[in-house]
Symmetry: C2
Subunit: 135 residues, 2 copies
DNA sequence: TATCATGTTGTAATGATTACAAGTTAGGGA
DNA sequence: TCCCTAACTTGTAATCATTACAACATGATA
């Protein structure tokens, strides 16, 4: 848990029990959860937790680059622990989101050509996953 | 307009004035509009138009690969006329969505390696656009 | 041109997210 | 160590995009 304290402090974020729990949750659940899933799961052990706090915290963590906000589903945000850059695959049959361990080879090229500053790169693939294809 | 009629027929979609208008709108407005923007604009010339029709039509067109549904913003869907495959850049300062004229070089590789069937490829870049960077 | 499956419309419901106000707490300075 | 204040948390209420639904209208086939 000390690790999470350091991460928050390093980013100038006040250390609170709620933030530590959410940060730990994301680190130990690499399942691209929704805000509501995080809320429901943590509510079990921290009944006083408020959904607003989950949303606020996720936004703060996102602004500091500590979590990655995925818009792949289109109906709800998904949150991802920031580790190595990777892409995502969404199965339109079963809804699962699968990590694709590649990085965009074009990001820097796009930046220098267009003159934009790129902060985030999202690679989304959508279709039917291998498991669903078998059925 | 005959062109749009053919497109609908070729895809087994019933030809209606509403669908023709929406298809034409998307073809002539390459601005990644929201459903609401399409609705408001078309409402001016077609007062009887219903927002539900816009949503229904966009969904049908999407299922037939005639429009591309972008989830880049995270708060609302954006719709794109399907032309050549390209990526998108979202400026977090001014909110504009800019076409990035590159294609994903990895899609086929991901498909064969993971065993998934890929129907859509979305490349999203987020940051600050060249125009906003100047200010 | 009669039929009916399919499309359209308007309204009401849903569900994720945000706004807000009141109470609570983390953490730096006395 | 204690106090103070800005920042955080909480709960409820509002917002806004999207979907559900039921009644009506229409395109296209025979």
């Amino acid at each position: 848990m000390d690790n999470y304290v350091q991460i928050l402090k390093k980013n100038g974020l006040k250390v609170t029990p709620q933030r530590l729990e959410i940060l730990k949750y994301l680190d130990t659940h690499r399942t691209h959860p929704t805000a509501d899933t995080i809320y429901s799961d943590l509510k079990k052990t921290t009944p006083s937790l408020s959904k607003t706090t989950v949303y606020n915290t996720l936004q703060h963590l996102g602004e500091h680059g500590l979590v990655y906000t995925l818009t792949i589903s289109g109906s709800e945000l998904r949150f991802d622990s920031v580790i190595n850059p990777h892409h995502h695959f969404l199965c339109k049959t079963c809804g699962s989101i699968i990590d694709i361990d590649i990085e965009c080879p074009n990001a820097r090229k796009v930046e220098s050509a267009g003159g934009h500053r790129i902060d985030e790169v999202h690679g989304y693939f959508k279709g039917v996953c291998a498991s669903c294809l078998k059925e």
